[in-house]
Amino acid sequence: MFLSENDIGSILLTLRLAAVVTVILFVLGTPVAWWLARTRSRWKGPVGAIVALPLVLPPSVLGFYLLVVLGPDGPVGRLTQSLGLGLLPFTFWGLVVGSVFYSLPFMVQPVQNAFEAIGERPLEVAATLGASPLDAFMTVALPLAGPGFLTAGVLSFAHTVGEFGVVLMIGGNIPGVTRVASVQIYDHVEAMEYGDANRLAVVMLVFAFAVLLSVYGSRRRPEKG
């Protein structure tokens, strides 16, 4: 067998995490991107900067603060406890929360760019053709931003697969629960199992390349309106 059972388990867990996070990001990121693309509010700058923070922060900083906020004495931790949900750190859903923040810019920015590229005009046209703002969003803005959504989904998924620092901080290293592929590689290296580390690393490398190729390779010139 090319990969061990543990390795395959970590890969499946990674894929499950990335899929859940990407779906949540589509739901959360789209309104944020729409707002950022069209607002003239003075909050646009600050909100845009906060969304972009994970791009430049060490993942350990993000993980640290999430640990504090979600922990037993943190505001969110108290809330989840009082709701009977228990504590999120060192659980799968704790990882999901951390990953959503960590991958947020990879969803918001491509979608925001796509919305901005559409501009005001097609929505004005839709309005003069009798489409309400929601109707125009669903039938004009979403289809025209399609390529942006594809890019955003692929990048968010891939970025979640590739995370390490945040996972280590708030997920720990629990097999089958929070031990994702990147952590599994780390474990192999710690245990001097370079051969195992290499096999898993190659899988990750091929995956990452295939993903990026699909994004960059599919960019064609858009048709003129």
């Binding site: 005009r121 003069t128 489409a131």
Partner: protein, 361 residues
Amino acid sequence: MIEARLRLVWPGFSLEVDERLPAAGVTVLFGHSGSGKTTLLRCIAGLEQAADGFLTFKGEVWQDARTWVPPHRRPLGYVFQEASLFPHLTVLGNLRYGRDRSRRRHREGDSRNERVSLDQAIELLGIGHLLDRKPGRLSGGERQRVGIARALAVNPRVLLMDEPLAALDLPRKQEILPYLERLHEQLAIPVVYVSHSSDEVARLADHLVVMDAGSVLASGALSDVLSRLDLPIRLGEETGVVIEGRIVERDARWHLVRVSWGGEGVWVRDPGGADGRTVRVRILARDVSLARERTQGSSILNILPARVIGMGDDEHPALTLAKLTVDGAVLLARLTRRSCAELGLMPGRPIWIQIKAVALL
């Protein structure tokens, strides 16, 4: 009737308008860029919201202190300067987009109260062979024709057009103008048309609104506004009038037709087509000269008796504009002040006019 009292202030620009536009025929909003004509049109469509505004259409309030009808609830068609077709839909998809929504809005199951049907819009703009294409595969002129058909397919009560020809080169303009003239002749939908081209004004306008720096300088029937002597807006070489008449006589030998209004008329090149139809001729002030007696032995075909009704300043101190009437139609003539003095021109005076060139529109 469209009644608009609008005030809108932006940095470096303000619009202040109190106008009644006829809800019939073609009303052209004419002016240079920055004159506010497009902004006024966008206010009528509801794409721009004047903070201080009152707008009614045929008695329906679209905007006042308490009411704001959003653009998608206004029964209008809008043609943008660039066709702005939806690139993800085919031509037919574009046409249906507005069609389906306006149907749903009015629950018009049958087509009895339709002012224009989808088929009619397709036929009128000559786009039947393009229906399956994506906008990216159309020429500029074809795209704008689809844009116009799409606005018509909404079955609008008023059609707003924002310089629909300005983004096109001359051959494309010539391609589309006849379609606009057909709209004018065949549909009863009132049109408000923004333009800075005196050629489009001459060919399409029934009612002309001249705008400058965010306000209205003049508004009225086309021939009244064009022949005003006090209008600060100068058309330069294009100064002139448009007269509507009927083809009453055809000279087959010399390929000429006589376009007549009242009893008088002018001979122009035969455009073909049937006798009796209504056409427009454009006569520029620089092509009209005056004489005390009817000249003999002249190459000029159109020599008509006229009466002076006023004199006005022209753009150069050496020049003056004479306003004349020929059987009810008003013409302008550009001449030097010296000639004016030598002829002894004054209001009420009969005079012969010689028209060097008449353009049939």
